[in-house]
Amino acid sequence: MRTHSRKWLCLLLLIARAATAAPQAQLQLPGFESLAAQASESVNITLDSNLLGLAARFLDSNKPEDAAARELIGGLKGIYVRSYTFDRDFTYPSADVERVRKQLSAPGWQRVVEVHSRKEQANVDIYILMDQGKANGLALISSEPRGFTIVNIVGSIDLQKLHRLEGHFGIPRLPLDEKPSPTP
């Protein structure tokens, strides 16, 4: 009886360890409810796997934009977007953004792009979650004087497909095949 309990305990510990060791592709994004009222434009999108599946059924394959979207979301489990734009320079709660950024310092996440555009006055960081050699998540944080955007894509991301989206949705060719810079 005692041996049996020990076995169960070991099994539970193993499961718990596996659960904590597995890198989390889905980030805990703050609600930013208070910002929506102050923003001139706000986008708050939460598409889990069910909604993605539902959306896929309503994509028109005859439209190139829809066809490209269908191809991209094939292996995805969720897309989460929080984007706020303000009419004037606005001090948004950077602590919330930093909290998101902190989650990206977890093992598995790699920052592949970190750019500062002086022209756009924007900092854009792109992170990819690598799991067993595959990209299983993508996070993008863009901060500008008059707004910020956080995008979290969960699931198996085919970077080649992302490349092929060039020309759709304004997605350009990205240097994703370059060696990623280590996370600081």
């Binding site: 999108i45 959306a55 934009e65 829809d66 979207a69 750019v115 002086r118 022209k119 863009s142």
Partner: protein, 111 residues
């Protein structure tokens, strides 16, 4: 001629009282008539109820389908919007990298 015909018609159609046995025959026939079962009436109600249920089911299904379609279109629009926002930000990164790779521009920095 006409009067004769009228008379003939009147004679033919004159009221005649039924004989005494008429009432008896009618009553005996009523007595011998098998009692009508209520089953056909019940069956009729069952059919009405079934038809009403089917109709209600169709209405509910149609409503559910409409709602699902509405949610689907909304989800599709959200997906396109999410990809548009992502694309917009990737474009900023792309342009900044491009500017960086052309030293003449020198307007951005990249890690």
């Amino acid at each position: 001629m006409s009067n004769d015909f009228d008379q003939q018609l009147r004679d033919a159609l004159r009221p005649v009282d039924p004989d005494e046995s008429f009432t008896r025959r009618v009553m005996s026939r009523i007595a011998n008539e098998p009692t009508r079962s209520r089953r056909p009436q019940r069956a009729r109600w069952a059919c009405v109820a079934l038809a009403a249920s089917v109709l209600l089911g169709i209405v509910i299904f149609h409503h559910w389908q409409l709602q699902r379609e509405q949610h689907g279109i909304e989800a599709r629009n959200q997906l396109i919007e999410a990809l548009r926002v992502t694309g917009e930000k990737l474009d900023i990164a792309y342009r900044a990298i491009n500017e960086d790779s052309h030293p003449g521009a020198g307007e951005s920095s990249r890690t």
